[in-house]
């Protein structure tokens, strides 16, 4: 058995096998030109191997010459295929160089058939036999043909073309392809070219075996292509998996998937999609059948959206109703993407469809409840507002807008605050902010400009809103116009003051006797002193030292009378109410001073248990004096039936829980069974009393945010308590 025969046959067989495989791939896959060109290269190399084998076994110079001519055909095919492969597969290489290679080689092929015996020899004189792989092979002896240079040039051009392509590929970053294909091609082409030149020009005596070198190129190309095939297989597997995953996900999300082939007009859709639209598995689908399912009102809208997308090659998204065969309505959200060919012609539309009936129902319910809220809010007889978590107002009802006479745009955000009276603004803002930050409800009164341009008092009530999970949503509030209430309040206050004045005058008139005495006393002292002084001056010598003392006493007594008159005038004055911090202890002392004579005349003794560190209270001095005076005189009245020695009254002040309390205790006749009745208007025990004393006292105390009440004392008599809030400052 000959090794040369075995090796060359196997080379050819291997090449043909590879060629067959890649031709198959090339035929099955459109545009797999790389594989086809590779198959051509491999077939050519196989042909070259066959020719070489023949040449080595040639029996005569003419036989060798003939085969030497025919070997140029596979060589030609191989070179052209290599150039094509580089252009197609590597997408590189100068085009003019490629054409140059093709042109030169074609010329060489033509000349090959012009010359005899072939392009390489002008003539072959004899065959020599040399030892090659342990056997004798034929080798020509003759005159080389100078036109052989043309073939050599084509090989050099091929090398240049491949070098350029390799550099381009390398620069492009595809280093592996550059080495695998480019470097291999350059290396093996140079080797083959070198051997051919050395042998054919007669420098070396050896059989020419370019196929061996080109087999290297074939092997490199085959390796590269098989990697591609392998990768494609992997991709296909991955794609299959991802498709499976997507189908699973789509199924889980109840997504219907569909593809509409615009060329063929048929529609493929997943089972989920068919279920969504009420089609059976086997039913044939097309656009018309699909459109039949759409709610008539939504058809045109869908058509337009789809047409726009197909025209522009983009995508569309549309929500529509589907009328199922059983008559039920279903809301569908559909999204489609148009795929185009290279020329921009729409080929198919792919898309997904989703059942959004539930969402639509929720939206509808929400819209309905929103509408209901607005209707309610707008028809409510109060002003309603809402604010978001950022304190900015987001809603005002019709009542509010009618009241202020402004537009929602003017009021929203912080716009409403423009209508708040400047004097109330800071207080309002503070209340609102403080409550808002603490998420607490608040109530505030302020003046708000109404549509007439004037200000009206409103009572505003704000409540924080929370979601079901406890998240803070903002505030909702209602405001009512309380101008009428305010007016009534101020009228009531006016009346209360009038009445207070009236009862004060009445009370003082009860005291008039003792007040007269109170004035009389200093006058009496002054008169006696003055008359004594007249005598002392008339003496000789006049006792001026004594007179000077007398004058000092007269001055002090005159002042005392003045004080009494001043105090009386204050109480009798019909003055404005003026709240100011004052000491209840001082008020008590002033009252006792005023009532002193009367109490003395009635034989009433006073015990004071006054707390030294008593906090001040906010109040009107005159009105509080009136209350205390009333309590003191009532206590004295209650004891009028007592024996002269047992008419003691105790006044005690105390402070507890932020309140200041005065307790007036008497040892008198006590309270009626219904202690509250004494505070009723026109309740009186005196023949000439108005019966308004305690009633007006209680309303005065209420206006001071205090309390006035009576309770029986455990031993004897009654205790009246006056409690006022201590001044916080």
């Amino acid at each position: 058995m000959s090794w040369v025969t075995i090796v060359w046959s196997m080379m050819a067989a291997a090449c043909l096998t590879l060629a067959g495989m890649h031709l198959l791939i090339g035929c099955r896959q459109r545009k797999a030109w790389g594989n086809v060109l590779f198959a051509l290269v491999a077939v050519a190399v196989a042909g070259m191997a066959a020719c070489e084998l023949w040449m080595m076994r040639a029996g005569s110079p003419s036989e060798w010459g003939a085969v030497g001519r025919w070997i140029h055909v596979p060589a030609y095919v191989m070179m052209l295929s290599l150039v094509g492969f580089v252009r197609v597969y590597l997408r590189a290489g100068w085009l003019w160089l490629a054409w140059a290679v093709v042109g030169v080689r074609s010329l060489a092929l033509v000349l090959n058939f012009v010359f005899s015996p072939n392009l390489n020899y002008r003539e072959i004189t004899s065959l020599r036999h040399i030892r090659f792989l342990g056997e004798s092979v034929a080798f020509p002896v003759g005159v080389p043909n100078p036109w052989m240079l043309l073939a050599n040039l084509s090989l050099v051009l091929l090398v240049a073309f491949v070098v350029d392509a390799t550099v381009t590929v390398w620069r492009r970053g595809d280093v592996r392809a550059a080495i695998q294909i480019g470097f291999n091609m350059i290396f093996f082409v140079l080797m083959g070219t070198g051997q051919a030149i050395l042998v054919l020009w007669g420098f070396v005596q050896a059989p020419i075996t370019p196929s061996v070198f080109f087999l290297g190129i074939v092997a490199a190309m085959a390796y590269e292509l098989s990697r591609d095939t392998l990768r494609a297989a992997e991709l296909a597997r991955d794609l299959g998996e991802s498709e499976q995953r997507m189908t699973l996900a789509a199924g889980a999300a109840n997504l219907g998937i569909w593809i509409h082939d615009l060329q063929r007009g048929d529609v493929w859709a997943s089972e989920e999609w068919r279920a969504l639209f009420g089609f059976t598995k086997a039913e044939r689908l097309d656009l018309d059948r699909f459109l039949q399912r759409l709610h008539p009102e939504d058809r045109e809208r869908f058509r337009q959206a789809r047409a726009r997308a197909i025209e522009g090659g983009g995508s569309y998204e549309v929500e529509y109703r589907v009328v199922l065969p059983e008559g039920r309505l279903r809301w569908i959200a559909s999204r489609g993407g148009v795929e185009c060919d290279g020329a921009g012609k729409a080929l198919r539309v792919r898309g997904v469809s989703l059942d959004i009936t539930e969402r639509k129902e929720v939206e509808e319910a929400l819209r309905e409840s929103e509408a209901r809220f607005r209707t309610m809010a707008n028809s409510a007889p109060v002003m309603i507002w809402m604010a978001g978590t950022d304190k900015l107002c987001t809603f005002f009802n019709k009542g509010w807008l009618d009241f202020t006479g402004r537009t929602p745009e003017q009021e929203l955000g912080n716009g409403w605050a423009e209508g708040v009276h400047p004097d109330d603004f800071d207080r309002c803002f503070e209340t609102y902010s403080k409550a808002f930050d603490a998420r607490e409800r608040f109530v505030m009164e302020y003046r708000l400009r109404c549509h007439t341009g004037g200000y009206c008092w409103v009572l505003d009530n704000g409540v924080p809103r929370f979601a079901s999970d406890g998240a803070f949503l903002g505030y909702i509030g209602s405001a009512i116009d309380i101008s009428a209430v305010k007016l009534a309040e101020s009228e009531a206050a006016q009346q209360r003051n009038e009445l207070a004045h009236l009862t004060r005058v009445t009370t003082l008139s009860e005291l008039s006797g003792s007040l007269a005495h109170e004035l009389n006393q200093p006058l009496a002292i002054i008169l006696s002193n003055a008359q004594a002084a007249q005598r002392l001056i008339a003496q000789s010598p006049p006792n001026l030292a004594e007179v000077s003392d007398i004058l000092a006493d007269i001055v002090s007594e005159d002042r005392r009378a003045g004080e009494v008159i001043k105090r009386l005038r204050t109480l009798l004055k019909r003055g404005e109410i003026a709240f100011a911090p004052l000491s209840l202890n001082e008020t008590i002392e002033e009252v006792l001073h005023l009532a002193h004579v009367d109490l003395t005349a009635r034989g009433v003794g006073i015990d004071r248990v006054l707390l030294a560190e008593l906090p001040r209270v906010d109040g009107d001095r005159v009105q509080l004096q009136q209350v205390v005076l009333n309590l003191v005189l009532n206590a004295a009245d209650a004891m009028s039936a007592n024996a002269p020695g047992s008419r003691r009254m105790q006044l005690r002040t105390a402070c507890r829980n932020g309140s200041v309390r005065l307790s007036v205790r008497d040892e008198g006749c006590g309270l009626p069974a219904d202690a509250e009745s004494i505070f009723a208007p026109f309740f009186t025990t005196k023949p000439h009393g108005l019966g308004l004393g305690l009633s007006i006292c209680r309303s005065i105390v209420a206006a001071h945010r205090g309390r006035l009440w009576a309770e029986p004392h455990s031993e004897r008599g009654a205790v009246f308590h006056l409690e006022l809030p201590a001044n916080a400052a």
Partner: protein
């Protein structure tokens, strides 16, 4: 004036008033003693001193009217002048009926006050004589006098005392003579001034 200067007692709870009256009365040559309350007055005076009281009506604890009642009850003959800030007619009538010399309202005019004081002092002096005369009566004569001022007839008195009518007549004559009094009416007034009640058992 008398050898032992008459004393004017001023009882008033108001210090300024006491001082002013003291100045006025001192300037008129009276000796003045002041008291801040009725109780103080009762504790600070002794029987036998002659004088008059200028008394404020409205005073804590014991008022002027009450003091007058006590003095009368104890048989102290000191004449009283009331001074008041706000006197009314019923009060003044009650005071005068109970033997007060005068009932003056504050502010008081010096002339009115001095006139009242002088009247009171002369009354005090005469009351001092009357008391002397009364002390010279025998127990039997005092008994008869009490019956007489109670307005009883001689016969009734004789029956009560268990003696003859003539006897009573003699005692009565002696009482009138010793007290230097002419009419029964004067005797009644004197008895009143002396604080002698009507006879016991009548």
């Amino acid at each position: 004036m008398k050898t032992d200067a008459p004393i004017v007692y001023v009882v008033d709870d108001e210090a300024g008033m006491r001082k002013a009256l003291t100045r006025l009365l001192n300037a008129e040559g009276f000796e003045v003693r002041t008291f801040a309350s009725a109780t103080e007055f009762l504790a600070g005076t002794s029987a036998g001193e002659t004088g008059c009281v200028v008394l404020d009506v409205a005073m804590p604890d014991l008022d002027g009217m009450e003091l007058q009642r006590r003095l009368t009850h104890d048989g102290v003959p000191t004449p009283i002048i009331f001074l008041t800030g706000h006197g009314d007619i019923p009060m003044s009538v009650r005071a005068i009926k109970a033997g007060a010399v005068d009932f003056l309202t504050k502010p008081v005019n010096d002339a009115d006050l001095l006139r009242a004081i002088r009247t009171a002092l002369s009354l005090a002096a005469s009351r001092g004589d009357e008391r002397d005369r009364y002390s010279r009566l025998t127990p039997r004569e005092r008994e008869v006098m009490a019956h007489v001022v109670a307005g009883r007839m001689n016969k009734e008195i004789a029956l009560d005392l268990g003696t003859g009518e003539q006897n009573i007549k003699t005692h009565r004559g002696r009482v009138m003579e010793k007290m230097k009094i002419q009419s029964v009416a004067d005797l009644v007034r004197a008895a009143q001034r002396l604080g002698i009640g009507t006879a016991p058992g009548v």
